[in-house]
Symmetry: C2
Subunit: 486 residues, 2 copies
């Protein structure tokens, strides 16, 4: 016989009841199970909290419940365990190696979105994708379901252009050149970017050196309607929020199933209404895509899903052997990008940005002399408009951007040639130096792969906010050997 | 630049710091990450709580921390994300289909035991076992590691006997006959049993009708030293506690990897020091073991692991096509068992108990006329000793055990023979009727498979604590068809 005991505290969240350990066992109730409490002709649904040393055969009700229902102490009640949501069955089906139907994936996404599944269930879903893989249909269903439960950027323009880099390359700031270049031609490009997750600087971190990047969807709409494009942080927009929950689990487990990676990217693009997308695949031993074979497999998958989503996608293979440009870290990245827009700056960065922008326009059957546009300063003018629209100071020039003064320059131990630069090591170094949180922290590469270097000529400089961080980063260099001269 | 803000509440648990969403992103910190907070020459380790609408670039410290360290508001600090425990890498290794070494499994078990892994990680470990399987060596390592981090029942006797049924069959109360039978011969049998998890009554639930079943390890030791055996609930003993955590995850995911099932059973046995074990494999379409082929595979695994653990194990195949005895539910099960000990009771129950007990003795090369022991009332006398030692009333007789008075009897729709009884349906019915929580609730089978039945002769009776529950159970009968007559 179960009896009620009113507890004198509130959860503020979902309704919770407390049961003692052995009472719960007897009832077949597990922690976090959803149960129905039945008494007289009434019932409530609540989540179970299991406590040791709680009295037996007692259901503890939090204040939230008993204030609402006016249920008395020692009232006799029954408990029924509610069935798990259907989504749990579908996840098990996937674990068993079977394919999921559209309705089933929609149900999983709905249940994740409405917090009906535990972290354990979501973990099982991610792992099942990792081990069992997903078909193109399944991935496309997942994308559409994730977009459906989230917010969307509703623009009335056509076409809506977008770009995405698969990542793994430090200092990839091509977005800050491509967006102003494309929008200066009159096209619409509402670019949402991520912050650094494991790298030393995401595009949103670099852009934040020049302007705000956190906006609501309405504000973004206003900015895009005004200047044609934006470079903002996508993280707080509630675009495909289920994707964020899945990514959190992936980070904890440190796995990144290909299907979820593709779905994640495409969901963010679909959420902003992208119709034409250029995908940058940097290929290199320390990039996300290791080699041509992997690239071909991935490309086929992306194009297959794009077809299902009716999005025009162009895939461009680029070099992923070393950083793009010379700066790693938010400020140094922004400086590189601004320099290119100003007509100087690293050549590899300029060329890569031009190549991606050309491929994007090719999807629309448009030929434009982008190089000339860049040289004439059209992109720079547009960038200043964007900076201003995002609340930054449009008068900024690359000269204004100076890294922290705590610096240490590594020089070459011998005459020779730079034969290898480790992306991982550079990211790690820049992070230890304080990037991306300390925006002026990072690394500046004086030499890139293939360049000749003399003994004691500078190879790279580390910048940090204080000496403690600089020292920690300097220590790492010996361990990680970011630049190899032979 | 990060600054401290002291928050005016306590966690009581592990140290927690609060970060706002976008600050956390910038730092590369995820919810529940473990971080180091560094200031001046000091540091603390804490778990991260991520909050929306918390001020940016602020680290909120709970009272537990700032009282201990006397850190001031607005103190400048740095944050470092701590590496995940090695165990997370080993789980990923298993996800990738590789075999784990002893040290690696020990590390996973240690990390689970010390709460260093998240629910998501544990879920991934369970799923990896489910999909990838485990070698016999891996399972044996897992058993030993789980036993090592838990409590053990330390008895000085040899041999120590034990039995286990794989389950799935309602009304399996053979333990309550085997333990007194074996201990009446002078052997030691410290039996820990489970409660009903998904069934209508576990052995611990049935035994609880007659005596207490919740004891500490010291109390159990005392009982066993006094009367030679016990039948207690194993759930609160902290035997192989990691196993309980894994089972919780399995329940949530509704999967039961073979490797974990075997490890779980063997760990509980090893924890009580069992040297000789008889394993009951009920085989039937609705039992845990579906068919002979599966049984042979499982048997080979159990014997292989037993060899590694230096335990003598005998596997007995039994019928799993229908309940053992006539009663389903705690009281009706206890009544069946008591009747057998008293010399009456269901024949199938008596025969099964004798068969298992004989096989257990065979492991010791002992022949004893167990049937005679039972008939002479030796086992009943011992059972009364055990009941008394466990705080029950030894004068109890089966007649005293009467189910609830709210009852409904189903009769046969025609003349014929009982051709099928559904284990699942009976469990479900008995649970809806209130078992195992309402001890006098359950089902009594008047006819078993193979028996002739006339039209309108009783097939089974449902008992419940009140009419509402009885009605709900009666409704289920039509849906679930527990007994089929042809």
């Amino acid at each position: 016989m179960l009896k009620v005991k009113r507890l004198d505290f509130k959860t503020g969240g979902p309704d919770v009841v407390v049961l003692d350990d052995s009472t719960a066992w007897k009832l077949g109730v597990r922690p976090k199970d959803r149960v129905k409490i039945l008494w007289k002709d009434k019932e409530i649904t609540a989540i179970v909290n299991i406590a040791e040393r709680f009295p037996r055969n007692i259901v503890g009700l939090f204040r939230d419940i008993w204030e609402r229902y006016d249920i008395k102490d020692w009232e006799e009640v029954d408990i029924e365990v509610l069935e798990k949501p259907l989504a749990a069955d579908y996840i098990r089906k996937k674990l068993d190696g079977k394919r999921l139907k559209r309705k089933e994936i929609e149900e999983i996404v709905r249940a994740i979105n409405e917090d009906e599944l535990s972290d354990m269930d979501i973990s099982a879903f991610v792992v099942s994708q990792y081990i069992r893989g997903m078909s193109l249909d399944e991935i496309a269903y997942l994308v559409e379901a994730m977009v459906d439960v989230g917010q969307r950027l509703e623009l009335s323009h056509y076409p809506i252009l977008d770009k995405h880099s698969l990542g793994g390359i430090p200092g990839n700031k091509v977005t800050m050149i491509i967006v102003p270049l494309i929008t200066s031609l009159g096209y619409v490009m509402p670019k949402t970017s991520s912050r650094a997750i494991t790298s030393a600087s995401g595009t949103a971190d670099a852009m934040e050196v020049l302007a705000n990047v956190s906006f609501s969807l309405d504000e973004i709409k206003e900015i895009v309607n005004k200047v044609g494009g934006c470079i903002v942080w996508g993280g707080s927009l509630n675009l495909a929020p289920v994707d964020d929950k899945l990514i959190n689990v992936e980070k904890v487990l440190n796995i990144d199933p290909v299907s979820q990676m593709i779905a994640s990217i495409m969901a963010k693009k679909l959420s902003v209404g992208a119709t034409h997308l250029v995908l940058d695949f940097p290929i290199g031993p320390e990039a996300k895509v290791r080699n041509r074979l992997e690239a071909t497999r991935l490309k086929r998958m992306f194009l297959g899903i794009a077809r299902r989503l009716k999005m025009e996608v162009s895939v461009v293979y680029t070099s992923g052997y070393q950083p793009i440009g010379n700066g790693v870290g938010p400020l140094l990245s922004a400086k590189d990008a601004l320099m290119v827009l100003e007509g100087s700056g690293p050549e590899d960065l300029r060329n890569k940005a031009l190549k991606l922008a050309e491929n994007l326009l090719k999807l629309l059957n448009i030929k434009a002399d982008l190089k000339e546009m860049l040289e004439k300063g059209e992109a720079l003018r547009k960038m200043k408009e964007i900076i201003e629209a995002q609340g930054g100071d449009p008068r900024i020039i690359s000269e204004d951007l100076q890294p922290y003064e705590h610096e240490f320059t590594y020089t070459s131990p011998k005459n020779g040639r730079v034969v290898y630069i480790s992306n991982h090591a550079l990211n790690e170094l820049a992070r230890v130096a304080g990037a991306p949180f300390d925006e002026g922290a990072g690394i500046y590469l004086h030499k890139k792969v293939g360049e000749k270097v003399r003994k004691e000529e500078p190879l790279f400089t580390i910048y940090a906010r204080n000496d403690a961080k600089l020292k920690r980063a300097v220590k790492q260099v010996v361990l990680r050997k970011p630049v190899v001269v032979k």
